[in-house]
């Protein structure tokens, strides 16, 4: 059975390794400041206790006040999982650092989010639309897209 790590405990460990990175944490998820997202992701991947070698799912949600990008991480070796999230408030130009250098699986998933939600992933080598054609106006998965 995959063990869901407690977000609050994980947040304490993350905070000691990456200071000023945690925005909030509850038992289900850790919310990370987008500026430190890459640093936290790298820590979670390389730390032997966490060892998150598998990024299962990467998605985004539009809460109108802010966008949330959600990472469902799994360690195949320890068989445990953790959800981390990051937020961006800027509706006109939301940007989150890419994690493609850590988990290549982020390649299409980040492009999909860029295409449908309009969040740019800085550091992604090929940040262009995945499904819709170049020149399509708007990002359909945003709640204010009609």
């Amino acid at each position: 059975m995959t063990v869901r790590l407690n977000g609050e405990e994980a947040a304490r460990k993350i905070a000691s390794a990456c200071p000023d990175s945690i925005v909030s944490a509850d038992k289900d998820a850790v919310v990370v400041d987008s500026k430190s997202l890459h640093q936290v992701a790298e820590y979670l991947k390389t730390d032997a206790g966490f060892d998150f070698n598998y990024l299962a799912n990467l998605t985004s949600v539009d809460y109108l006040d802010y966008f949330e990008v959600v990472y469902n991480l799994i360690s195949l070796n320890h068989n445990h999982s953790l959800t981390i999230k990051t937020r961006c408030d800027d509706r006109n130009n939301p940007t989150v650092p890419s994690v493609i250098d850590l988990w290549r699986t982020a390649d299409y998933q980040e492009r999909e989010i860029y295409d449908l939600m309009g969040i740019t992933f800085s550091g992604h080598p090929n940040m262009k639309r995945l499904f819709l054609w170049e020149g399509f106006e708007g990002h359909p998965l945003r709640r204010d897209y009609l």
Binding site: T2, L76, W133
Partner: protein, 367 residues
Amino acid sequence: MVIKTQPFILNMGPQHPSTHGVFRMRVTLDGEVIVDLEPVLGYLHRGIEKLAEGRTYTQVIPLTDRLDYVTSMTNNLAYVLAVEKLAGIKVPERAEYLRIIIAEMMRISSHLMGIGFFLNDMGAMMTPVLYMWREREKLVDLFEMVCGQRLLYNYMRIGGVSHDIPEEFLPALKKFIAEMPKFIDEYNQLLAGNEILLARSKGVGILPRDLAINIGASGPVLRASGVNWDIRKADPYSIYDRFDFDVPVGSAGDCYDRYWIKILEMRQSLRILEQAIAQLPEGEVCANVPALVRPPVGEVYMRIEAPKGELGFYIVSDNSIAPYRCHIRPPELINLTALRDMVIGWKVADLILTFGSIDICMGEIDR
């Protein structure tokens, strides 16, 4: 005299018999050798995630049929499990068993199709596919008995399944389970030791173990690369912890292993089916769930082992009758991330084969 050469850009698809739907690849060739490849997606994009936001939770179920339409009911299952987890709905025992029976039949049906078309891509034009079709047809007849449909079944419901099985279903399924090992032996006799199959697929399109994990591969693609990871075992959902079965694992990560794993998995699915039929209890097939489900505010990520890998649903609820957000984690799109790495340096004919061995369905990739 030096002959001037230049790379050649070849567009394969979207209308191409070997692309399993409307898939397009922009391939850069040096002679016959592949130097670069870029998939171009979106020809079947219907915006299913956006459509789901405008429907009630129950109305989303038929949309999930249209993801990977070869394994429709497995998609139904992943979705209803996610909603049930979010809303805390308990499913009757009989429905749990019926779901497992259907899901494992779907796995056999999907693998038959995957293997058949893989051999088609190898150049064994249509003959293996028709052998596989012979058995798949029996499964489709069984599905028709259950819910009256032959492709888009819409069978699962939040809280159970839509109908109980008719009385002629179990005898027909038992007959299928008894006959199927013989047919698998027949395929092996025709294919497994075939010199052409070995020459074309052994050592071709290798996906190393570490890369497979890093690109988030799942299902037979991941296991063929030597990773023992099956969500039915690693994180059992529904009632999979009650069955005894093995997880076949490959070693080389080449096209042959990806083919062979599917053959072995069919045998394991038959084992699960036998046990599920033996344990099948009597009773209700659907819990008493209101027509308009309103899960409490929250979010859930539910994943299952679909025939092609980890199929996940990330659903956010705002306590209304429609999902606030419904993201689908597509195993086939993510498995496809590795295609470029697998084919660089190989010839065009190997590209078709490697692509076939990943076993994709565009309905799920483009959504």
